[in-house]
Symmetry: D2
Subunit: 344 residues, 4 copies
């Protein structure tokens, strides 16, 4: 039984970890921290957990967290890096759902996150947490910087094309659409139902923090720096990310893309290449850890369009973190992650 600690349990990725771990047969949440909610039962804050947990929030405390086998950070950037060095030293394994350990280029990180990084050495030792890209390194890793939500959807969609050198790596366009939970549980006028429902908008077109993370990942796949335009959009829904990924085929009559994608992901339990002609709906992954992908070559011309759908809170965050934990602790990778998406 893996003893789990969670730092920052009051946000959406925190409660989603609790949901997923409630029925995980090989893991048990021992510690959950929140400075503001100290002493409150998790089930009093999140009534969906009533009957599933007898666990109260405690103030973050390294001593206490060090009794865990693994600590998840479900926190905004900047928190994990402040506690990670001490926990790593004590041999605790760390899975950061935030951004502190994703980007290898410290200067780039500091520019986009507007913060000085306090443990750049650890960044270099950290493993990027996207199992479909990096499974072996995750297995051995002590500190994992889990892939972000947009980066997961985009990288899984582009990987077969870039890894096979099929498209022009300089002209990638990722038009992404996300539900509002991507913005977190903070009180915010912009994500009030009265503001965000019955409307859509782009945001961060001039620049978004996930851009350098995605470029780092795609450049790794391509073996050289890619050119990427990334346009995120806010959707009037709770959960879900849909990435529409455009690229230009070097050879429009090259290998059959459907077959290529199917073979590329044949053994992946959480990537579902849909039949030719399909369009994945985000609801088909709602509450599940699946990424559903389809690939199109409209009118047989040289533009390829990949559609990639995930639940941003599951495969884009907490489910992926549990998948990473399963890998790290040599559990079957799908343990606790077999939920069927809630549809309708």
């Amino acid at each position: 039984m893996v003893k789990v600690g969670i730092v920052g349990g009051t946000g959406y990725t925190g409660v989603e970890l609790l949901r997923l771990l409630a029925n995980h047969p090989q893991a048990r949440v021992d510690v959950i921290t929140s400075r503001s909610e100290e002493g409150i039962q998790v089930a009093d804050m999140f009534p969906n957990l009533r009957g599933h947990y007898d666990l109260a929030f405690t103030v973050p405390d390294v001593e206490r967290l060090a009794t865990c086998d693994v600590v998840f950070f479900a926190t905004p950037h900047g928190v994990a890096m402040s506690m990670a060095p001490e926990l790593v030293e004590r041999g605790v394994r760390i899975i950061d759902l935030g951004a502190d350990f994703r980007i290898k280029d410290i200067e780039l990180w500091e520019k986009w996150y507007n913060l000085e990084h306090t443990c750049p050495d650890l960044v270099q030792k950290a493993v990027y947490g996207l199992p479909e890209l990096n499974r072996d390194a995750i297995r051995e890793g002590q500190l994992i910087g889990c892939a972000g939500c947009y980066p997961t959807a985009v990288q899984l969609g582009y990987q077969p094309l870039l890894a096979n050198g099929l498209v022009d790596h300089r002209r990638l366009i990722a038009d992404c659409k996300s539900g509002v939970t991507g913005a977190g549980r903070g009180a915010n006028v912009g994500t009030l139902l009265a503001e965000a429902s019955e409307s859509i908008k782009a945001y961060g077109v001039p620049g978004h923090r996930h851009l350098p993370e995605i470029k780092q990942g795609l450049s790794g796949m391509a073996g050289r720096p890619v050119g990427l335009t990334f346009a995120p959009h806010l959707m009037p829904m709770i959960r879900g990310i849909h990435a529409t990924l455009y690229s230009v085929l070097k050879d429009p009559v090259g290998p059959d893309l459907q077959t290529l994608f199917e073979e590329f992901y044949r053994d992946e339990p959480f990537v579902d290449v849909m039949p030719a002609g399909a369009h994945p709906e985000t609801r088909s992954v709602k509450g599940s850890n699946m990424c559903r992908i389809s690939v199109h070559q409209p009118q047989g011309e040289d533009t390829v369009v990949v559609l990639s759908a995930i639940d941003n809170l599951v495969k884009g965050a907490s489910g992926q973190a549990v998948q990473v934990m399963n890998i790290m602790f040599d559990l079957p990778e799908t343990t606790g992650l077999e939920q069927v998406a809630l549809m309708p």
Copy 2:
């Protein structure tokens, strides 16, 4: 392993049965029927099931269904009564999610459903499927007419008051709010997103088919015919029923209602009496089989207000049917029904 057949698998209660049974450790769906979708894989119709089922729809066939231990009817009224007699004769157990076997007064049933009942004898032998009311009879039953969605929310809310004779049974008011899946998966202008979102309305105030079912149940609890006003409302959401139940206390300074409710439902795994002062949200039961209830006595006066929330497709339909199956087959009642509600 319970061998399950499902008649009518293309509606919302059908796909929800498939979702719940996909991870049920003691049941396996062997047969699923649909005349219109014969030969189609269930996962091609409902992509959330991809990877969980290798099962195709077949034309309804009594021979084939008779090989099952239990057959669920996830069909509109009128279908179950046409096939039940033959299946009953062959010893198959039946769980009808529709309305054919709920109402004992055949004449009343025929008036509200505008149809002649073809097996009135079976109605008398059928057991009403609401475990919190009727658990022992269900255990022995061969044919169960599961409680409807509104009737479940209303009866669970009123039961402690009526069974204890605390309120005026002649003046019950059930103001109920339901998500659109209550109207089924049929193509219908009124439940298009463009018609039903960003709006609410009452419907069926002059009379709704669930009225006689609810009155039958409440009258049973009260030991005499109750007077009930039932006003259903359509809500701009997919899942969920919220019943707001008004009644008049015979004695405003009688027993403490909070304690009474907690004790009444102490041993029920799927009824959660919330703390005093709470207001259950439907999302706190989304995708789960729980009914959450709170009880209020505003300003200490003689009106009691009970709030009762369920997921109409789970505790109001398919989850309840699985709970009934567990009881019938001597499985632990919560088997396969431990999902945590999806929140947010």
Copy 3:
């Protein structure tokens, strides 16, 4: 041309006043105040107003406001009472959309609003702003305390019954459903899209600030203190209130209620009694100043159910305020309020 000032223009009732007054042929907004947004153009804050206004927020200033013919307070309770005395003294007419001048019983007001009232004398001179109840007094009034959103829907629904003495005034039940704009534009976790959509809940069942206002109004209609249970519910939609109003007929075979309602509201431009059997949808009044009502007597028994639908931001707030202004300034009552509801 009526010169208009608006205090507190950054909330939802403020921007709705701006929307309605943009095309009002006899009124012009001269001053709009907001301490936090001083100097900002209203159209920069609310892009729907681009091209309609060249007007910036200014700090509230009595001198400046005193140049207006009428000042609207689109503010939380407590603000209007702090500025009203001085403006009244200078002869400015005031329309308060907040709660400061609605309740005549100062002690009661102070209890529910948990605040000392600073100008109780003015309260006694103030006129309650619900034209269908109080039109003549409004015409002569200098200071109007506009009816709240729930109170408008409830009072218009009950008025024909209570004014005619047809129902038991001791047993009124108002089950009300409101869109989230009723909670205002403040940053608030509870009304985030991720929290409030795909869910419904009751709130304030033990007691809500609109209860004393509604009781005061209904008691006036009935000529004696009424007994009222008021249960508000939060709906996953932006705009709209639907009140479902229950009462007990003294005589179940009394006057035809449909005819009675139609005649009662025959000359009202903003109350639409729908045909017998109808159920008003809130979307049928979205963006319009109309209140649509239907009346039902289910199964001919002694309970009457009135359904009343308004747009909480229009007839429940800013539209009503404009209607009140039209009356005060002897303009045709419908001036600037002829918008057709946006449907779908």
Copy 4:
């Protein structure tokens, strides 16, 4: 006073025409047809129109329609072409909101619409109805084929770039998002609230009927055939289209795009170029005839991203049709179209 006829008044563009024309001071709807709803009052079908119209649906009849000055076809493709020749002959002016007269290449039209065109001659005489592209021709036109919803958003966004020859015309990508009213008012499982809310998906990526129309328009602007990838997406909202338009600048340090766009649309009453850095929300045009546009050049690189937002039922259909009518009848172009968008 322009006498108006509407063929096909029971769909969303029909009721939206009625909403807009209800307060149009220079036009009056004399005839509205619907075969299925003959004799029904429009206000009985669409309760938002109660009090605004005393008009019943009639069976389509050329004699009757010929008494009108202008006839709008708010019909699926195929209807207008069956009645247009006779009306044109009688001198009636026609505004077709459908697709029959938009595409000059008959063969192409027949391929995409899978129907033989019955009056190809009229197509050649027809004028394309997008005033910002084609105002003078519209003024003189007798038969107008109004621009479709996606085509309007896309063409208005690309026009300044293509007309000035600034971008590579071979690599245009239009990622478009539409509310469900774009799919019409037909009963359809796919646009049920239970299917389409809390989810997004692409559709028609292999090919969509608006593709040839958009390509025709963009090619006209560019002066040569363009290459376009068009990916429409279904959004969980009622109204609104957001087009995200990608193209490659020939010269990344060319003219300032913000200034270029502002000047290009300086005199257009219904195109609003937003300030630099802005992201238009579809709700900022909800119910209004405005198209709001912003232009971005992320990180100063060579990709330009134009964001274009309209209400698909107004500027994308019925509002545009009224704008066209105003032009044809020498009325001020904004007559009846000054509604402020409903926000929130």
